[in-house]
Amino acid sequence: MTYRLDQQPLEWIDRGRTVTFRFEGKSLSGFAGDSISSALMASGHSLLGRSFKYHRPRGALTLANHDVNALFQSADATNIRGDVEPLTEGIELHACNVNGSLENDRDRFIGLFARFMPVGFYYKVFHRPKKLFPFWERKIREKAGLGRVNTDWTEQRTPKRYDYCELLVVGAGASGMQAALTAAEAGADVVLVDENPHIGGSLDYQLANEPAATGVRAALKDKVRNHANIRLFEQHYAAGWYTDHYIPLVGPKGITKLRAEGMICATGVMEQTAVFRNNDLPGVMMASAAQRLISRYAVSPGHRAVVLCANDEGYRAALDLMEAGIELAAVVDLESTPQRGSWAQQVTDKGVPVYRGCGIYAAQGSRHLQSVQVAAFNGKDCDPSELTAIDCDLLLMSVGWAPASQLLYQAKGKLGYDDTLQQILPRELPAGIHACGRVNGAFTLEQRLADGKRAARAALAELRGEFHAESQTLHRDRQAHSHPWPIVSHPAGKNFVDMDEDLQLKDLVNAAKEGFDNIELIKRFSTIGMGPSQGKHSNMNGIRILAAIRGQSIDKTGSTTARPMFHPVPVSALAGRRFRPERRTPMQEWHEAHGARMMEAGHWQRPEYYGQPEEREQAILREAQAVRSRLGLIDVSTLGKIEVLGPDAARLLDAVYTMKMSTIRQGMTRYALLVEDSGVIIDDGIAARLGEDRFYVSATTSHAAATFRILSQTVMDLGLDVRLVNLTDSLAAMNLAGPLSRELLKTLTDVDLSEESFPYLGIREGTMCGAKVRLIRVGFVGELGYEIHAPAHKAMEIWHTLMRAGARYNIRPFGVEAQRILRLEKGHVIVGQDTDGLTNPFEANMPWAIPLKSKPWFTGKPSLVVLKERCQRRLTGFMLPQGYSGERIKECHLVIKDGDIAGRVTSIAYSPALGRYIGLAMLDLPLANEAKTLHVRVDSGSLVAMSPCKTPFYDADGKRQTADLTEVA
């Protein structure tokens, strides 16, 4: 049986394009332009889903994405909102949250036990005995959730776009289109956004058959579409309002992040349910839903209808039903003496019985509405003593509206309840935020158009800093379109307030009775408004109910916070394209081509070692040995490199670093230790003096940016005459290390490398491969060695040259791991490995770097004065016996003394030079001073003994860093 109507004047479907799909195993078809729900309803499926808790049959309710009765699952996605998701060819759909099939949901019997599940019941049961809770929890988890995730789904990411406009208008109904147009005609750059595939808003469904709207509709749409100043975003929703008018517009192809100067909310109103028994049966729907179904999709919502109303809009819907050929059995008006307009008159004229002062006491039917019980309604409740049954398969609810004011709340607008309109309306809106149309209480077409113009004028005046005097209340209607209490009790319940959460009237009453009687607590206890539609069809009734319970006004009762998102936003759209910036040294390709295993160092990649993973340990040892015995080359381009220029350069470095830098002789370097105000070590490097007013400092890879920032902040704070140049990227660096380094290097540079003219810790400028380079005699790995700092574009050539020329010395590139061993042999600390977030220099065993007496000031000095006296732990060297072959000690294994934690291993490695394991441990005092033997607890839990010792472990007097090969050989 088809429910498809004859062609409707404004229909969205394309009858020339049939779309086939499968639903619960059946082949069906619809038209292009159908939503999933409309196609199903056109095929006679009024049962679209099952409810969250009781698995009750559910059909179309709002058809506006204000409920989640119709949720579907496809091979590629879940929680698909059938009411608004376009039908696509070949899609195979199943209902979400059913056990078995939608028709025969085995969990539908849960509903029979609803009386055993009062509000918040889960807080009161299952926890005794404690042991059984995991069992119950498993059971609950089986029933929880809606759609099913397929963890094999592949990643989806959609690109993001950015846009800007002067004025954003949200909602392209009558008032929104008018506002956009008025603003555009005044020269403003306007973006008009609407979540529907087509603009028009309620003009196109609620007023589809209204002759007065025809001309307005055509003119507005035409002008809006063709105005050069208006950019239209159809099928996009404004997901939220964020600081400084930042509004993400979410559409089928992703997010456009829009920055606006101002925003007009023409977001309209959301129709609210009437609350009565079985108000969730398929066949019971919002009047606006039926109008959408007819006008947009040409689908008949039923055959014989009753309309429950409390406003003119209900009569308009009744006329629309008749226009579509649906039999209208009756109109039930909650008001006994309603002031209704011409639509009501037309309904009466057509001979339709109108029950005034009546409500629906209950709807009846098992899977679909079969009849309704009409009873007298006194504004508070129905009188069930006299019930009139009316057979019908369709009941429209037209009892009131809630403003779509989410964006206004997010923008910190103040709203309040208006007793005339029985609706929450804007009171005070913040700068740049305006509202018009039904969200602002303008209901007739004339009011809406006038209000749109007014809002546009107000927004423009504000943008241009002009005065604007029109009140935002000017065009509000003077009669209610919402009933203050569209709620009918029933001893058997099932009068639902929130369809998402299967919440009945009594659930809210009982939650309040238990003390959850303010708006936030009732929400949290009952979960009203917490479901996927976030209270769009339920919050207003929730507030009304709570206000009635408390005997308070709606304003006093308040409303819950409207948090983003307006509709849920796909993670794929939020994630956007994957963007992971990487920094590459000039030598990175060479490393990769030569078998380097790379490791992350912030945004950089550094060679960990060169070789096959299965030979990792040997490869690292070979590299370390090459440096000790001959020659190695490591890429250290990732170090921070900062040029410090100007008359106050030395003063700056004295202020920032612990050691005195103003006394460095030209051509020499000094260890540069950086601590915070608190005395905690944060970075180290070297400072080199190139001239009286010219220094060059280095920083560790991970702290390079922060060190530059600290230097530049100090320049500003002290008002120094210093210029800083961050050379981290423009200079590459490599360390040529090993006893043969001078031998090799002297053939490749014009710098005099003799010990006398270029001593240890010296820095020289010269050329290599035709490029200006700086050579620094460094000692980190403890061999004669030269750090070569060269322009990035020449670095590869220099590296090549060194590798080629070094071939005769068996030069070997080495990675970070070998460097870690070599520096450990020298007892050098790695900041961040041997230190933690609280380590000070005394604890790091570097008192020599803290000249408390000779320097009047440096950052952190006053703290270090205190900390020197309160040192509680100290970094200490240790070694294992030669030939140790027991269980491996790892970094961060604990040192145990008398059963208590007394420290931890911060570094450990097998030293090829010493032929044994060596390491550093942060030990509590006085243990660090006194211990003859330390015990470390390894993975198995057993204790391994090791001996504390002095550092450096290797070449304690530093001969190898200063001496010629011939002298040490």
Binding site: Y246, S712, D717, L718, W857, P862, S863
Partner: protein, 88 residues
Amino acid sequence: MKLLDCPLIGRRPISEFDYVGEVRKPPVDCDTATWAAFVFNRQGAPSVLRERWYHRPTGYWFILDRDTLTDEVKAIVDAREVRYDIPA
């Protein structure tokens, strides 16, 4: 995303800035308690706070008075106003 007015190149998204915190001048020649208070204690209550922000793309520092309750920038302050001296 919030915008900040960079004195050099106008309104920029806040993600371009590093937040460094309240402008604080280290006390000189003070007792330990005063120093510890400087190092650790902060003006934690909502207020108009004079703060340092660092604009990474330009390397430019600026000082601004920001209301930490409303997130409104009240003033952009000349860096010279917050200079201090250290013992030489």
